[in-house]
Structure formats: C-alpha cells, structure tokens
C-alpha cells in the first residue's frame, strides 16, 4: 500500500495548552480513516496542520512525500473544509461551488448538482443566511464533489438532521466505491460512522491512543454481566476497562476476544455476555487512559 501522508512527532503548542503531543501516524492511499476523539482532543488542529492552514511547533509532515506548506503541487490535491468554515460575505452557494470548481482539478459538476438536489440546498441565498444544516451541506458538497485525492471532513454533519447525515454517508460510500480516494473523517459520533471506516485513529488530549483497523477493534471487548463473585472470578487476570455494580450484580467490560471455551464457561456460570459497540469501546478506552494518567504518581515521595 502506498503511503500518502506521513506524520512524525508532530507537536503543536499554544501558550498554555498542547493541542498535539508527539503525534505520529501514516495514512495509506485510497482508504477511509476515522479521526476520532472528544471535542477539543486535537482533531481539527492535526487536520489544519496537514493542510498547511496551521503550523506545527515541531515534528515533520509529508504529504505525497513533500512538505505541504505553500506547495502548489500538493495543496490542490487535498480538500479540507472545516467545521465552521467562513465564506465571503456576499457569497451564495452558487458562488462557493463555482469557486470550488475552479480550484479543484478533479471537481465533478455532475456530482455537485446531484448533491445540491439531494440536500435541497438554496443556491441563491447568501451563505450567511443559511441554516446551520444548510451551511454544513455546502461544506459536504464541496468536499465530496472535489474528488480530491485526499479529502478531509471535519465533523461535517453538524446541524444536519439524521436523514441528511445518512444521505451523506450513503453518497460518500457510493462515490468512494466508484472513485476511490483517501478520506479522513473526523467525528465524535463514532457508532454512526463506524461502518464507513477502514481504520480508526483515536486522539485524546493531543495524543494518539489508538491507530488500528476498525475490524480488528470491533469485537475486542465484551461486557460480562451477572453475579458479582462469578464475574470477578471470570475477569481475574484480564484487563477490565470498565466496571459497574448494582447490588450483587456487576457489569465488567473486558478486553480480549472470548474463545468458545470462554463462552461455554460463561453460559455454564449463568453469566450474560453483552456486545460492546465500537463507540463504547473507544469511550471506555479513552476514560481508562485518562484515569490511568491522573492516577499516575506525580513524583517520588
């Protein structure tokens, strides 16, 4: 597989916060990535730096093997429409799409027209006057119709209702199947987008805490529910990333695939197995990492 983006030890420091902390990862060609994390985790910062809209404090970024900054060979091959994109004051959706057509070499007017109809976007109204959902739709349409070799979607669905979001996911998959390209989708609605993603990169407080194939992560955890003593006996020696108790019933989320032998034993003990969705797994892992960090001793006593 060809690598299109290489990030090495990327750090972005502001006066009193670290938005990206020694981040390293690679992005392969023609793959859909999820860049997942909480609000303020650093997703937009990383994407801005990759597209040279923001600058790293230290570390290296290579896009198509080159440094993206002021690079007219590399930049037009990328598209980054951010979550709260500002448009020229008097611009209508028509203007915005016309400009995108001029600047993105692989632009598809056919796809753009189709999406405008799908999202029922008013073309003559100034963008300032559009609703939040319609504003998002403009960004989504630019991102999709640009057919840029690397397309970033930064929380693209904010303001879009559930129907519009599903429409976006459907059109994204459709067009990706026909015109494969590298797509990086940032989101905190993990379960909604998880089926689209081939790989997930989870970022928390500026650090990467997971960078894996989605399918490998799915099914990595299970929640064992039942009598506290029996549950504890079963989970002994396994990594428990979440535990809840109510009376004599405990629900423990463990990492690690359950073998058939495990399942038989659980059935025999009368313990229930509840599936753990990708979102739950990532949320629990994030909380687990965060609490491990805060529990760490501050220094020698």
């Amino acid at each position: 597989m060809t690598t299109v983006i290489e990030v090495k030890n990327l750090t972005k420091r502001y006066r009193d916060t670290v938005a990206a902390d020694d981040v390293s990862f690679t992005i392969e060609k023609d793959t859909i990535y999820g860049l997942l994390g909480r609000n303020g985790a650093g997703k937009t910062t990383v994407m801005s730096i990759l597209t040279a809209q923001n600058f790293a404090t230290s570390g290296e970024v290579r896009v198509f093997g080159e440094h993206p900054y002021e690079n007219a060979r590399v930049l037009p091959r990328m598209c980054f429409v951010r979550e709260s994109q500002r448009y020229p004051d008097d611009a209508t959706a028509t203007h915005a799409l016309r400009m995108a057509r001029l600047f993105f070499p692989r632009w598809s007017q056919e796809l753009a027209d189709r999406l405008v109809a799908d999202f029922q976007l008013p073309m003559k109204k100034t963008i300032k006057k559009l609703s939040r959902g319609q504003l998002s739709a403009v960004g989504v349409i630019i991102g999709l119709a640009s057919r840029a070799e690397i397309t970033f979607f930064d929380e693209p669905y904010l303001g879009l209702d559930a129907v519009a979001r599903q429409l976006f996911y459907d059109r994204l998959l459709e067009d990706y199947a026909e015109h494969p390209r590298t797509i990086i989708l940032s989101s905190h609605l993990i379960d909604e987008v998880s089926n689209l993603l081939e790989r997930v990169i989870v970022i928390d407080k500026g650090r990467i805490i997971m960078d894996e194939e989605t399918e490998a992560v799915r099914g990595r955890a299970a929640t064992i529910v039942g009598d506290t003593a029996r549950v504890e006996a079963f989970v002994a020696g396994r990594e428990v990333i979440h535990r809840e108790s109510l009376g004599r019933v405990t629900s423990a989320t463990v990492l690690g695939e359950l073998t058939d032998a495990d399942r038989s034993r659980l059935a025999a003990e009368g313990l229930d197995i509840a599936p753990v969705s990708l979102q739950q797994l990532i949320v629990r892992t994030t909380q687990h990492v965060e609490s491990a960090l805060t529990a760490a001793p501050e220094g020698a006593l």
Partner: protein, 228 residues
C-alpha cells in the same frame, strides 16, 4: 497564473465591497458637493475635497480583502502566495477602474466648465495641469496605497493580534514624528516643500506607488504565517 486569476474572481464575489459601496460613496460625495456648490452664492472657482472619500474607503476594501476572503481561499487549497498576488491584482484592477472613472469625470468636468458652476471635483488644477496621463497615474496610485495600508494592517492584525498592530502603528507614528522633528531641527521644511513641488504630479504618483509596493511587500511576511 491561472489560480492567481481565480483568486481575483474569488475576491470579486464580494460585490458590495468592490462595486456597490465605492460607487455609493463616490456618487454620494459627488452629489453632495454639487448641492453645496449650488447653494453657495460664490462666483469663481470652487474646489472640493470630496473626491478623497473613496480613497479612504479603499483602506476598508484592503481590510475586507483579507478578512472576508482569506479563510475561504485556504479552504480552496490556495497557497498564500497565489492569494497575495491575486489580491494585489484585484487591487490593481479596481484602482485602475477608479482612476479611469476619475479621468473620465475630469474630462466631462472641464468640458462643462465645472458642471456649469465652475466647481472642480475631479480635476484639481495642479493635478490636471500635468496632463491626463499623470493625473490617471496619481488617481491610480492613491487608492493602491490606501488598499495596501488596509490590507497590511489587517494581515498584521491577523498574525500578531491587536497588541501587535497597536505596537506597529504607534511605532510608525513615533517614527514619522521623529522624522518631522529631525527635519525641523535641520530647518529643512522649505527644502522638503521645494522637493515635493519639483516632483510634479507624475513624480508624486510614482513615489506613492513605491510606498504602496513597500507596504505590500511587508505584509507578505505576516501573511505567510497567518491562519484562517
């Protein structure tokens, strides 16, 4: 070069900024001047500074050229260099258009004997005497300068914030005052005056363009590190 031209189109989306408001400002100050002249029972030549109004407005245009368009240009994957040259080109085109309107107005003015009132709005004597070409050059250079000052200030603000910009303006102010004091000390004001007079209209226009160029060049550096 293609992408640079497309930046011009990008800028010109903002018709209010580039077309309507300047036209309104110009038309408004012109009409107002005519009205005032018609009301004042004064024989003889009348002059008005009303033509300046649009120039000051071009400072605003320069600011808006950055604030309203830079973020979107970044989304369009335009490099800062393409954006800078495209925006400068937009300034050149609009200033040239303005200059042409002024010169056209001046011809009309002279032909009608000062709008039948001996009132001179577009064609101030010392400018017009040097000929329409020199006048055009001056009418082109002044809005360019104001545009660049607006654009440069906005760029500086974007990069260094309000504190940075204030420091810059205070610094420039102090330097100018300092310069003025030095000239005064050397008793050089009359020499300065003579020098300005010898430059002539075309000369002043050329110097104005030089300053505009310098301001423009200086605004490129902060732009290179500006974020949308």
């Amino acid at each position: 070069m293609n992408r640079t031209w497309n930046v011009v189109r990008l800028q010109l989306i903002n018709k209010q900024t580039y077309v309507w408001v300047p036209l309104i400002v110009l038309a408004g100050s012109f009409v107002l001047t005519l009205l005032i002249w018609s009301m004042v029972p004064f024989g003889g030549q009348k002059y008005s500074g009303g033509a300046q109004a649009v120039y000051w407005y071009f400072g605003v245009v320069g600011v808006q050229a950055l604030t309203l368009t830079f973020p979107f240009s970044q989304a369009m994957s335009v490099t800062r260099r393409e954006y800078f040259f495209g925006t400068t080109l937009t300034a050149v085109l609009t200033s040239a258009l303005l200059a042409s309107i002024y010169v056209g107005g001046a011809f009309l003015e002279r032909a009608t004997g000062g709008w039948g009132m001996e009132g001179y709005f577009f064609s101030i004597d010392w400018i017009w005497d040097a000929g329409p070409a020199a006048a055009w050059l001056l009418y082109f250079a002044v809005p360019m300068l104001f545009f660049m000052i607006g654009f440069g200030s906005a760029t500086f603000y974007k990069r260094f914030g309000s504190v940075g910009l204030t420091v810059l303006l205070v610094g420039i102010g102090l330097s100018l005052v300092g310069l003025g004091w030095l000239i005064g000390r050397a008793d050089g004001w009359s020499a300065v005056g003579t020098w300005i007079a010898t430059q002539g209209t075309a000369g002043i226009a050329a110097w104005t363009l030089v300053v505009a160029l310098v301001v423009g060049a200086l605004s490129f550096a902060p732009l290179r590190r500006a974020t949308p």
